[in-house]
Amino acid sequence: MSEFLRDYLTVIWFGAAALAIGAILLGAAALVRPSHPNFEKSIAYESGVDPVGIGWSQSQIRYYVFALLFVIFDVEAVFLFPWAANIERYGAFGLIVMVVFIVLLLDGLVYAWKRGLLRWV
């Protein structure tokens, strides 16, 4: 197997190790801990007041616009990394192209800013 794939296999072992550690810890605790469930204990804790309705209540999602902006800028970063790692090879041409790219996206941020989307309302 190539070195490249072996590195990814190591990552899988690390993930498996994390799950194993979690399982061992919880399993060991299961041998020791008490289990006396009753109704009072299983009520959601909302500062001692009995909860009204269920927990999945409607609330205003203010993160919607931020999530969209995040996707745009994260994809920008994906494109910037390969250029950054080879910056000398692309030289001045690459620099100008990438500056245009960044400015275009920055323009989007300024637009969102001017529209008041970055305000927390």
């Binding site: 993930g15 979690g22 008490p34 959601a44 209540s57 950054a84 790692a85 000398e88």
Partner: protein, 351 residues
Amino acid sequence: MSAVLAVEVPYWGQSLLRVLGGLVAVLLPAGTIVYLFLFKMMSFMQSRLGPMEAGPYGSLQLVAEVGKWMQKEDLAPENADRTIFKMAPLVVLVSTFLLVAVIPFGPDAYFTNFAVGVFFGLAVSSISVLGILIAGWASANKYSLLGGLRAAGQLIAYELPLVLATLGVVIQAESMNFQEIVVAQNTGAIFGFEWLGNPFIFTQFIGFLIFMIAVQAELTQAPFDMPIAESELVSGYMTEYSGFRFLIFFIAEFATAGIFALIASLLFLGGWGVPFVWFDWNSLDDVSWWMNLVGPLIMLTKMLLLTFIIMWVRFSYPRFREDQLQTFAWKVLIPLSLANIGITAILKVAV
């Protein structure tokens, strides 16, 4: 790693060693940070002694804590979505373990040697957001839901400055491989003066500041601790967790703090290396084998230094308001880090 041991180790043996090493690299920083900073330093800063009973100067307090958490009943709220409620801490823990896999501790002492190590690290670090969002949603608790949503909003907002600050380092080192970034810092020179190498903290100081602020927010440490703001949301997405499931969240939080400090020391402080000019090394192949033993100690020292700063800020500053948080990320940090990238790139190409 087989080069260190000088004997050929079979693949399963290598993997076992790596996993054990990874375990140490996750649990040792977490334990050290919690005892040294969270228990002792915070107490001294607040003019009290902190834990003193368990062991000399309370040094066995961690063992006592684990014993305590072990005996707690494993509760889940009645309305909760039980399967994913119980799964959420494990998702966060897996994210932490995947993140530690990219960190090199010496010329041969690494777990994985990805050509795109920086990229991989940034990618897996955001898996923990998923675990937090799951925890907040599955609890069926209004405080948890709000905490989970706040955490998601905060983590994605500060992910961008983190990524963009890293980009400045990638431009300077011209590589996304952690080993090559370390070598680039230790073989570099500042204005022809090469005794110190060129730790990127000097040339990328703005990047370093942005990175550390973003790390503070990614770890939800005060002043960025709105997702678990005690006075507003009880304990945010962790409210309904008890016993070992809570402890797993807790371990993962402080282990991630240590790992982010390790990443910051690799990117900005020269990582495991010493300036190569001290020993007449020219490239990674020249580095002596004993750096595999000294490297982890250097990394540990730098990690303690950076986590000290993170915890110092945590204990010193009051919480931001929620709107200030998003404003700060989008209107200050992101334009600043884009400007930093532009200037770095222009200087790199022009000079």
